[in-house]
């Protein structure tokens, strides 16, 4: 029986959890806010950014949203703070800060 994926949250009761934790939907990973696993946090410094977009394809969690060929601030609901974006940025526009945002 398919249930609304939005109802599977960290406050769900055992009586409501899906059978075997099966998820009967597709394209739903963004509904699960895995950003709270993050330890270090990237800080986007917009004035230094040249919009080269080198950071976008290397992000393992697709947490750098792009609109009209321009990147925006991070999607912190899913960013794990791995720091790869800060390593590849040629402009110093991403700084890693210790601790959660």
């Amino acid at each position: 029986m398919a249930i609304d994926v939005n109802k599977i949250t960290e406050t769900i009761y055992w009586t409501d959890i899906t059978e075997g934790c099966k998820i009967e939907a597709s394209g739903n990973s963004k509904l699960f806010n895995t950003g709270d696993w993050r330890v270090d946090t990237p800080v986007f410094i917009a004035e230094k950014c040249t919009q080269c977009l080198l950071c976008v394809p290397v992000c393992p969690d697709s947490s750098i949203p792009v609109n009209n060929y321009k990147r925006a601030d991070f999607d912190f609901a899913h960013c794990k703070g791995c720091g790869i974006c800060a390593k590849v940025c040629p402009s110093g526009a991403i700084e890693m800060k210790m601790g959660e945002r």
Binding site: M1, A2, E10, I12, Y13, W14, T15, I17, E19, G20, C21, K22, I23, E24, A25, S26
Partner: protein, 393 residues
């Protein structure tokens, strides 16, 4: 109309599988269960079943393939013994937690070491906490009947858990006995078509199976899984009742043999229960009030019902065909004592380890257990409560 046959336990299970005609069987040979995939693969090769038979490279792969097939929407099964079950270990938990109603024909054999190929229950007893339903059989007829009932229990919407149908290696698996088979058509009608609500190959409803569950979900998931296992108890009874309607053979959660008025009771699993019945008949003829409770369903453990069935017994022997290395009890002893304690009953319970590595269990060995129990009742001295039966010392 039933068919009278003479079959070994392995042949009986392979024939139940043929009559069920499952979708996928994956298996790797291991003594003493080798015959089951060996016979069944010939059924597949001869076109007597529509089953996809996958000869895999290990037992880990055998259960992994069954899990994949079952998740895809196919009724799947495998068979194994001993170290083969041990190699499946990781995947046993995956099958259960993903709620996949796979059937496994287990032919009980000891785990090494010392290396030995004969019967005891150390393989399945080690897997008792993996979340599978476990049903044990005394003889060839029972293992056939239990296998025919297996999918009806496992696939029930309130259960959906894998099921292990166990029989004693060589003692029943290789010994030929008279047996009554159901007609193929009767079995097919009883078991029915497998129609899962959803499955991975369903193009109308996408599904993810086995997602990562962080700490916030894991306990709720386990609790829900436990509920499904508890539900199996009622389903086992319902399926048994329906099965009795087509076969004339009745099954419950356990079998009571001359137990109701017995002062001295034995709780036992598997083929040795047949030997115990002979011992009981002899002792009853001498006026001794002895009886037995034979476990059929071990997981979930029907503790309340077993405590109620043992309420009149003054001294009880729990017979474990495995060594738990905890120095105070075997797995059956632990379960029975737990059930009695929870029910507020405090009879003397002596836990025996017997039949390891295929050690023969004769009528006189079982009779010696009853003699122990009667002696304990007379002297009011239980002595050592964890004992080895027929040990040279």
């Amino acid at each position: 109309m039933s068919i009278r046959e003479r079959l070994s336990g392995n042949e009986a299970v392979a024939n139940a599988m043929r009559q069920i005609n499952p979708d996928v069987m994956s298996a790797f040979p291991i003594t003493p269960s080798t015959e089951i995939p060996f016979i069944f693969s010939s059924f597949a090769a001869n076109g007597e079943v529509d089953t996809e038979f996958i000869p895999v490279e290990s037992e880990h792969s055998a259960l992994s393939a069954a899990i994949g097939a079952q998740a895809a929407g196919a009724r799947s099964l495998t068979a194994t013994s001993s170290c083969g079950l041990a190699l499946m270990w990781e995947m046993l938990y995956v099958a259960a937690s993903n709620r996949l109603p796979i059937a496994l024909a287990l032919v009980n054999r000891t785990l090494s070491g010392p290396i030995n190929i004969n019967c005891d229950h150390s393989d399945s007893m080690g897997a008792r906490d993996s979340g599978w339903i476990q049903i044990y059989s005394e003889n060839n007829q029972e293992v056939y009947d239990n296998f025919v009932q297996a999918y009806r229990i496992a696939e029930h919407p309130s259960v959906r858990l894998p099921i292990m149908i166990c029989q004693d290696g060589f003692i029943t698996s290789a010994a030929v006995e008279n047996i009554e088979l159901l007609e193929d058509k009767e079995v097919k009608e009883f078991v029915g078509e497998y129609c899962p609500e959803n499955y991975l190959l369903n193009s109308r409803q996408s599904q993810s199976i086995g997602p990562y569950a962080v700490s916030a979900y894991c306990m709720e998931a386990k609790r829900a899984q436990l509920e499904a296992l508890k539900n199996a108890k009622q389903v086992v009874l319902e399926v048994a009742e329906e099965f009795a309607g087509i076969s004339g053979r009745s099954y419950g959660l356990f079998e009571e043999y001359r137990l109701a008025d017995a002062d001295y009771a034995m709780v036992i699993i598997g083929s040795a229960a047949g030997t115990a019945k002979d011992a009981i008949d002899q002792l009853r003829a001498d006026g001794q009030k002895v009886g037995m409770l034979k476990i059929r369903l071990f997981r979930p453990f029907p503790g309340e019902e077993i405590a109620a069935a043992l309420k009149n017994a003054r001294v009880i022997a729990c017979m474990d065909r495995t060594e738990s290395f905890n120095s105070q009890c075997g797995p059956l002893g632990a379960e029975v004592k737990n059930a009695l304690y929870n029910a507020g009953q405090a009879p003397v319970v002596i836990n025996y380890v017997y039949g390891l590595g295929g050690r023969d269990v004769a009528v006189e060995n079982i009779a010696s257990v009853y003699a122990d129990l009667i002696g304990i009742d007379k002297t009011k001295d239980a002595g050592e409560k964890y004992r080895y039966l027929s040990l040279r010392d």
